[in-house]
Amino acid sequence: MTKVVLPELGEGIEKATVSYWYFKEGEKVNEKDDLVELTTDKATFNLPSPCSGMLSQVLFHEGDSVNVGEVLAIIEET
């Protein structure tokens, strides 16, 4: 089980908003696939999947605000 965590994005950035999930719960993902798009200020950025496996749980949905260090999703490695 691998946790997908919102990483450090720069000085003074404490949170971001989930703008788009590229995969749904239950779908297979490959390492480095774009997993989720987030927005902060006037910038969007993608988080790549840290491993290959199944996206078993999405903990924040589109429109939700996430703090740096929080777990966005869980991937069951294959």
């Binding site: 720069g10 927005t39 200020d41 006037k42 910038a43 950025f45 993608n46």
Partner: protein, 227 residues
């Protein structure tokens, strides 16, 4: 490390978008280090990720009559308008060579415009939480970027020609009731886009912006602290 420069002239938004993606690939695979694309667009409305379609005030018929197309794109921000009277800059920068800091890069783009305005005798201002550059509470430059693999896409537009401001009435720029201004409006004279293009490029490459400074050093030209 050299930054490739491209001047696409007056170009359709979608063609420039495709070009951005090609350049992005070249940066990603390290064929080139980073790039700056400059251009002007035929009239177009773009919707960023935070956009609400209700912020397009004109109906489809009116937009069609003006030949204005709408694109939904992956940059941050709400709705904006681009036209031939603006200078568009798309910096495709690999931030791993500068600093992996999203907001610092936004501030850097603002700073470049503030420097450019300063050289023209105009005081540009930034306001916390309102990304962009303002002159007397009117917006002169808009910014919206996307970052993929720490490489930047999209960028900024600077309003130059007075004639292009009317089309901002077709939308609520950035989803807010704000007034837009232009270099021609502020300076009360005709301005050639190519002149500003050259000045913008010179300002950006004059190493006065933060990301080009060695990490940890603060630009002495910074007008206000980064918030």
């Amino acid at each position: 490390m050299q930054i490739e420069k491209f001047d696409l002239g007056l170009i359709n938004f979608s063609k420039a978008w495709d070009f951005q993606k090609e350049v992005f690939k070249a940066v990603k695979y390290e064929d080139i280090y980073s790039a700056l694309i400059l251009c002007q667009h035929y009239p177009v409305i773009t919707l960023g990720r935070s956009a609400d379609r209700r912020n397009i005030l004109a109906d489809e018929q009116k937009l069609n009559s003006k030949g204005i197309q709408i694109y939904e794109i992956e940059r941050g921000g709400d709705v904006t308008y681009h036209g031939p009277g603006q200078l568009i800059a798309y910096p495709i920068f690999n931030l791993k060579y500068f600093k992996k800091d999203i907001h610092l890069f936004l501030r850097y783009l603002e700073e470049t415009v503030i420097e450019l305005l300063y050289d023209l005798g105009i005081k540009g201002t930034r306001y916390a939480g309102l990304t962009g550059v303002w002159v007397d509470k009117q917006k002169i430059a808009s910014i919206g970027i996307a970052i993929r693999n720490w490489i930047t896409l999209h960028g900024l537009s600077i309003n130059i020609k007075k004639s292009d401001l009317d089309n901002f009435r077709l939308i609520r720029p950035c989803g807010m009731d704000i007034k837009m201004t232009s270099l021609e409006t502020v300076l009360e004279r005709d301005i050639e886009i190519n002149d500003i293009k050259t000045k913008f490029r010179d300002t950006l490459f004059a190493n006065r912006g933060t990301p080009f400074y060695p990490i940890g050093r603060v630009s002495p030209y910074r007008s206000v602290p980064v918030y």
